[in-house]
Symmetry: D4
Subunit: 250 residues, 8 copies
C-alpha cells in the first residue's frame, strides 16, 4: 500500500465510506495464521499460486496429520517432501485422495488444477533418479508438463545428443547430476533455455558429499546455468516450474 | 534431425529432389567457424538469440579488435565484459558506435533490437553496485527492461519492504549481495517470482572471498532462489533476461 | 589479591592479628576441589553467580549421580545439558526435585532464586526449536525472563516484523537458525539490542553441518550480532542471560 | 504500532482530532532518506542511539564528503572506519572539528555526548593493536569508558593474570587475538563478564588468514565468549558498548 | 655401511677372512621378515629400542593372534592399540601375561624393561582422558615415568597454574585437548620443556572433528609446541617418550 | 563418419547401390540401447575393448540380475564392483560361471580373453589391501599380468627398495596408500614408468577421509604420478590396464 | 642388484676376476652428483630416458647458467620450465642452440633425438593455452608427436565432437581446462585412450584457484581419466609422453 | 610455591626472619617488565635458557632499535627473525656486534655461550633452504651443533639414503619440505630419533599455500614425527634445540 492508497483509505475512514473496523482490518491484516507448533504461511499461495510445501522428515505423524488436515480443510493442494514410508502410510490412510511416491519420497494430494509450462528433467546416472523424481513430481504438482530424460551423463555424451531437440522444446531444463556434475555444462552448451542445476551427493571420496558437483555447476562455462543446493530435487522442480509459468505473463 | 527427417532427406536425395551437395551441406554443416586464436560459436545466436559474449580481461587489444571486427561485420551485437579502461579506449576509437560503461566495465555495441521482459536488479549495499551494473547492462543488451533497486540490504530491511511491489511486477529479480548474502533469502521470501542470486566478494575475513555469501544463497530457505558464481554479474543478467523471455513463448 | 592487600595480610600475620593457619588458608586456597574423575570449579559460582554446568552426553550414570549429588549437597543449582532420556530417568529418580525437559534434553534442579533480565529467543523454523529450548531453559535457570518467538524465518519476513516490538523490549535476543542463517542479520537490522546468533545444523548438502549458517552470522552486515558455536543452545542462553544481568550493575 | 494504537489513530482521524495529513505522516513515514548513491538509515540513531557508521575504504573522497556533510548537517556524530590517510586529510580539511586516528584508521567527529559502561579491550600481541584501537575508538565514540590491556597473550599467561581484577570490574571485555586465538578462552575462564572475541588475521601459514583464530574462539570451552568476524575491530567495540549500555536499562 | 666399511668387507672376502656366505648375508640382509598378510619391521626395535606397534582396530582376531604370537616368540614387548574389547578378550585368553586397558583400548604384554625419562600427560577436560590414557600407557610401555594431570583446561586456568612445577620437572609434556585446544599454548607458555600437542575430536559443530583444535595447536604462539594428528594418543606418548630418552644420550 | 564417407554413402543411395533402409541404419544407429532403468553403453566395448562396468552398491538384486543377464546374453565379460556379499550370492547362484571376490567386493564373469601388459599394484599398508585388490582384479579382468607388492610403505622404506626392480619391469604401477600417501612420491622417484596413484580413506583425524592422501599425491614432486579419486581401486586398475595396452599399438 | 648378482660379484672379487676397486665402484656408486647448491639427479636419464627438468622460476640467473652449463657439458637435453623472459634472455645469449617459448615459458635445448608416441593436447578455452603449450612443448621435447586441439570446451560441445577421431588416433590425450573442468569427463567419454587431466586456475570466485576443476576431474564419471596438479602443464606433458612410450616396450 | 613453602615463608615473616618487604617481593614478583609498546618476557630466559625472540617483520625500525637496545643492555642474546634487509641495515649500523643472515632473514647478536645437542636440518628441495636456514641459525643461536642435509627429497630417495647415518647420529632432525611433504615420513622411517616436521609453502595449485604438506606431515605413518606451522623455520629450530638439550638433564 503506497501513500496514495493510504491517503485514500484514511479519507474514506474520515468520511465514513469505510468503517473503522474495515480499515483496521486492511491495515493490520497479516498474511499468516499461527497453528501452535507451526505458522502456516497462507500468503504463499497468493505469491506463488502454490501453498507452502511441508518438509516431512523431521515431523512426527501427529504433526503431519494436523498440518495436512488444516490444508485440506482450506482446499489447498498438499505436497509433503522427504517423507519416510511409515509416516506416508498414516497419511494415505487418513487422506485416501492423496498418493505416496516412494522413489521421490513425496506425498501429493492435489486440489485445484494449476497450469505451468514444459519442464525437462535430465539426469547423469541412474543413482540420481530419486532426486530427479522429487523434482519431477514437484513440477507436476505445480502444473508443469514434465519430460524425463534419465541416465544420459557425459561419460557417454551421444546419449544426451540424441535427445537434444526434445529438451530444447521445453521452457526450462533441470540438470540432476552427482560426481563431477559435468552434465549441467554439457546440457547448457546444447540448449538455448534456462538450465536449473541440481548437484547430488552421488559419488564417493573427493565428491565431498556433493560439494564437488556443486562447485562444478556454479563454475559452469555455460551462462544459462544456475544452481540449487545439493540433493534439492524439490527446489529444482519448484524453480523450474516457476520459470515455466512466466510464459503466461504479460 | 530425427530418423523421420533423415529418411525424408535421403528419399529426396534418391529421387533427385535434393542435390547431393545440398544433402552433404545439411548433414555435415557444423555450427561454428574457426578464426585462428578463437572459435566463435555463431550457433549461439540461434540458440539464445544473442551472440557469444567476449570476456575482455585476458585478451590483448589486437585480439579484441579482431573479434569485435568479425562480429560487427556479421551485423551482430557486441558485448565485451570485464574490460579494462585502456583497452576500452582502443575499442571505442575503432568502433565509435559502441559505448564503454566504466562501473560495469562493459563495452556494448548494439546492432538489432531484441525484446525481453522486466528484470529487477537488487543490491544489498553500495559496494555491490559494480557487479549489479554488469548484470543490468547485460540484461538491457539482451532487450530487458531493467529496474535498479540498490542499497536495500537486510541490515535495514524496511528499505527493501517499501519497494517490494515494484520488484514483484518484474518477471524475475537478480539479488546481488556480499558479506552474509541474506538479501537473496529475504527477497525470495517477499516476492513470487524467480530470484537469481549473485554472491559478491564484498566483505572481509570470514567472507572467504565470497564463498560465505555463495553458501548462504545455495542454502536459502526460500525455494525461488537459484545461485550464480561469485561476482558473476554478467551471468546473473544473462540468466534473468533469458527467463524473462519465456513470457513470449508458446 | 593485589600487593596492597597482600602487604596488609602479611602485616597482620606478623602482628599476630591473623593466625598463620588463616593466612595459609587465604593464600593457598584454590577455588576448586578435586572429585576424582572431575574437578568441579566451585569458583565459577562466584564469578558468574551460576555453578558449573554439567555436560551430560559423554558421562556415565554413575558419574552423573556423583557430580549432581556433590552439587546438591553444596546447595547449588544443577543444570545438566545434552542429557539422554535414559540417564535422565536415573537422575530424576534419585533427585525428585529436579525436572527433565526432553525437547531441550536438560535436567534442571533449582536451588536459590537468581535474577536476570529479559531475553528473547527467536528461531527461523520449527526444526530449530530443540536448540532454542536448550537456550531458553538455560537462560531461565539463570533467572532470565524468556520470551519465545519461534518459526519466524526470513522466507516469510512479515512473521518476524509483527513481533519486532516484543523483541525490542528485551535486553538481548538470541537468534537460532540453520540453513543460510539469515535470521540473525534480519533480526539485527530490526532491533537496537545485542543479538546472540546460534547457528544450527538444520539443513542438508551445502549447509556443511551448520558451517554455512555460522559463516553467514559471522559475516553479518548488522553490527549488533555476535556468534556462538553450531547447535550451542546452552551457550546462547548463558551468554544472553549474562548480558541481561548487566542491567543490575553500577 | 500495534492494532490498538492503530485503531486509536484511525478513530482520531474519523473524529477529526488528528488531521489526515498528520495520520498519513505517521503511517507512511519511512525511517530513511535516499541520498542518491547511498541510503542513509537515519532510523538507526533511534534504534541504537548511534547513527550509521560509514565504511571508508571503498568510497571515493567525493562520496565521503557528501555523506559526512549530510550527517553533520543533521547534527549527528560521524564515525568513518577503515579510512585511508589520504582520504582522511580531505575530511579533516573540510570538517576541522573531526579527528583522524591513523593506527585505528578511524575519522571521528563527535556531536552530542552519549553514555555507556566500562569496556576492557585486551590483546594477545602488539600486532593486534590496530584492530584493538578500532574497537577502542568505536566504543569511546559510543560513550564507553575504555580500558586498554595490550600484549598479554597466553604465551606468557602471568601478564594477563596480573590484570584480571581490572578487567573484571568492566561490564564487558573485548578479546583481540590472532594466531591460535587462545586469549579469548583464557580471558573467559578468568572473568565473570561477557567476552566479545575478535579474531585477527595476525599470523601466517595455517592461520588461514584468521580462520584458525575464529574457529578457536567459536569453539571456546568458556561459555561467556561470543565471536565477531576476523579483524572486525569496529564490530567488537560496537557490540561491547551496546552490552555496556544495558546497565542503564530497567 | 659407508664406503670404508664396504671396502674393508670386500677386502676380507678377497683374503678369505670372511666367507662368501657371510658377506652375502651382511650385504643382502634386509631388516624385516614377511609373515604373509603383514611385514613385521623387526628393524624398528633396533632403531627405536621398541618394536612395531600393532593397530588393532582393522585386524581380525586370527591376524592379531598370529602377529602377537610371532612377537612373543621373539621375546619382544607387544603393544596393540585401538583394540576393541571383544578382540582383547581373545588375546588375554591366549597370552595371560598381557593386560588390556579398556579406557585406553590398549593391550600390553611387556617383555624386557626399558628406561626413558619423565613425561607429563595433561588434559583439558575429562572427555580427553581416553586419548590421554592411550598416550600414558604407550609412554609407560616405553619405560617413561608418567605423571597424569587431568581436567585442567583454560576455562579454569588456576587449576593448571597450581600444578605448573610438577609438570616443569618432567622432560617433556603431552597436552591433550579438544574444542579450541588452547591448553597447548597455555601450557607451552608456562613451562620451559618441549610440549607435544595432541588435538582431540572432543567438541561439536565448528570443531570440525578436531580440525579446529589441530589448527589452534599448529598456530600456537608458544614456540615449544609441536603437534600430532587428531586423537593420536599413541603418537603423542611415543614421541614424548622418545624425547625423554635423549637424556641418556651422549 | 567424415564428409568424404558421407558423400560416398549418399552417392550410393542416389545410384541405388545402397538401399534407403541401409543408409538410414548407418546414419541413425546410435551406439547404445535403452533397457528401461538403465542405458547400457554397448559402444564402450568398441572404445575400450571392455564393456561397461556395473557399480553394484546402489542397485537392487533384480536390477543386477537383469543387467548381468543382458550382458551375458551378448557374450560380454561382466564386472560388478562394490558388490555386497548378499547380492553376490544371488548373482553366483544364477550365473555359476561367475566368481565373487569378497575382499575386493567384485563379481567377475569372463567371456573372451583379452590381453594387456604388466601392472604392479603396490600398497602402503595392509589396510589398503581391499582397494588394491579391487584394482588388481579389474586389471586382471582386462587382461593384465598383475604383480602384487603389498605393505611396503615409507615408514619402512627398505621394504619398498628391495622390490624396486620387480616393479620397474612392469609397464605401469598403481600406488595405493592412505594416511599421508607418501608412497606415490617415493615409488615415482624409484621407477621410470607411469605411476597411477590411488589415495585411500585409511587413517583418521586430519586424514579428512582420504583428502590428505589425495592432496599429497596431486602435489607429488615426482613427475610420473597421476591421481585417481579416493578409494577408487577400480579406476586405478582400469587406467593402469589401459596404459599397459599401449604396448600393442602402432 | 639382487642376491644372485651380488653373490656372483663377490665370487668374482674372491677369485680376482673383478678388482676390489671395481667392486667398490659398482656397490658404492650412487646415481647423482652434488653441485653445491643443487644435486643433479643424473640417474633420472636412465630411469626415464629424459634428464631432470629445471624449474626456472625460483632460481637466479647465475644458478641457471651453472646448472644448464653442467647439463650441456654432459650432452644432455635441457628443459627449463616456468622461466621468466629476462632470465631466458641470459640463457639464450649463453647457449644460442637453445630456444625460448614465451607463451609456455619454457627454454629448450635439445641434444639427442628421442622417440615417443602420439599425444593430443586439448583445451577448454583460449585462456588455458599457456598451460597447454607447457604440456605440448614438454611432450615434444620428450619425442612425442603432439596434436593441438584448442578451445573446444563443453559450452559448445559440437566443436569437440568434430575432432574426436583425430584425438582417438593418439596414444594418449591431455585435457587442459579451468572453471568447472568438464572437458576431462566429456573427452574421456568420447575416446578409448588414457586421458591425463590438467586443471587450470582459469576462472574466478568459486573456482577456488583451480580446486573446483581439480575436484571435477578427480570425480570424473569416465574411468579413463587421471589428474595432475593445477596448472601443471609440464607434468601433464611429461606423463602423457611417458605413457605414449609404452608402445615401444615388449 | 606449594603450601609447605608458603607456610615456611609466612612462619619466617611472623618470627621476623624474613622482612615484610622481602616476603611481599617473593609473593608479588611478576616475571616481566612493561616497556611501553611491548612487554618483554624476561622470565623466558629462565624458563628456556633463551630470551624472547623478536619477530621483525611487522615492527618499525624505531621499535626494533628500542627492543634490541633493551636486550643488549641486559646482556641478553638477541635474535630477530623475518627481518627485512633495510631494517637489518639499521640494526647492524647501531649494533655492529650483531650479524644479518639474508637468506634466513635473521639478525643475531650473541652474548653468552649456551650449549645444546646435535641437530640435523634436512630439506626436500633447494626452494626450502630459506626456511631451513631460519631453523639452522635459530638452533645454532641456542647452542646446537647443526648439520645441514639439503635437497634430498623423495623424488630421488637414494640421495637421502646415503646420508642416513649422519642424521641418525644427531639427537633430533628437522624435516623441511613443501609440495607433498613426503620427506618427513621417509626420514621418520629411516632414523630412530625425534623428527620435527616443518611444512613449507613451496609448490603451487593444490598445495594450498602449504596446507597439503602440513596435512601430509600430521598424518605421517611414522610415529616419530611432530609438526610445526607452515614456513615456521624458527619454531622448528627452536623446538629441535630444546629437545637436544634434554641430553644434559638428570
Amino acid at each position: 500500500m503506497d501513500e496514495k492508497a493510504l491517503r485514500a483509505l484514511l479519507g474514506q475512514v474520515k468520511t465514513g465510506k469505510v468503517t473503522l473496523d474495515d480499515a483496521v482490518g486492511k491495515l493490520k491484516d497479516l498474511p499468516y495464521a499461527e497453528l501452535g507448533y507451526a505458522t502456516v504461511d497462507t500468503h504463499r499461495n497468493l505469491r506463488f499460486g502454490f501453498p507452502e510445501v511441508v518438509l516431512g522428515e523431521p515431523k512426527t505423524v501427529e504433526q503431519l496429520l494436523g498440518i495436512v488436515g488444516a490444508l485440506v480443510e482450506r482446499k489447498q493442494t498438499v505436497l509433503v517432501t522427504r517423507l519416510q514410508p511409515d509416516k506416508a502410510e498414516a497419511l494415505v490412510a487418513r487422506f485416501p485422495k492423496g498418493q505416496y511416491h516412494p522413489v521421490a519420497r513425496i506425498f501429493h494430494l492435489p486440489q485445484r488444477k494449476v497450469k505451468a509450462g514444459r519442464v525437462a528433467i535430465v539426469t547423469g546416472g541412474t543413482s540420481d533418479i530419486p532426486v530427479a523424481e522429487e523434482a519431477a513430481l514437484t513440477a507436476e504438482a505445480m502444473g508443469a508438463d514434465v519430460r524425463r530424460v534419465y541416465d544420459v551423463g557425459v561419460a557417454g555424451i551421444h546419449r544426451l545428443l540424441r535427445r537434444r531437440e526434445e529438451i530444447q522444446e521445453c521452457h526450462v531444463a533441470v540438470a540432476v547430476a552427482g560426481m563431477e556434475g559435468a552434465l549441467a555444462s554439457a546440457l547448457g552448451g546444447l540448449v538455448g533455455i534456462p538450465v536449473v542445476a541440481v548437484p547430488t551427493s552421488v559419488g564417493y571420496g573427493a565428491n565431498l558429499g556433493g560439494i564437488s558437483a556443486l562447485l562444478s555447476m556454479v563454475n559452469s562455462c555455460a551462462s544459462n546455468v544456475a544452481t540449487m543446493n545439493i540433493d534439492n530435487g524439490f527446489g529444482g522442480g519448484f524453480y523450474a516450474a516457476l520459470i515455466s509459468r512466466t510464459k503466461g505473463r504479460s
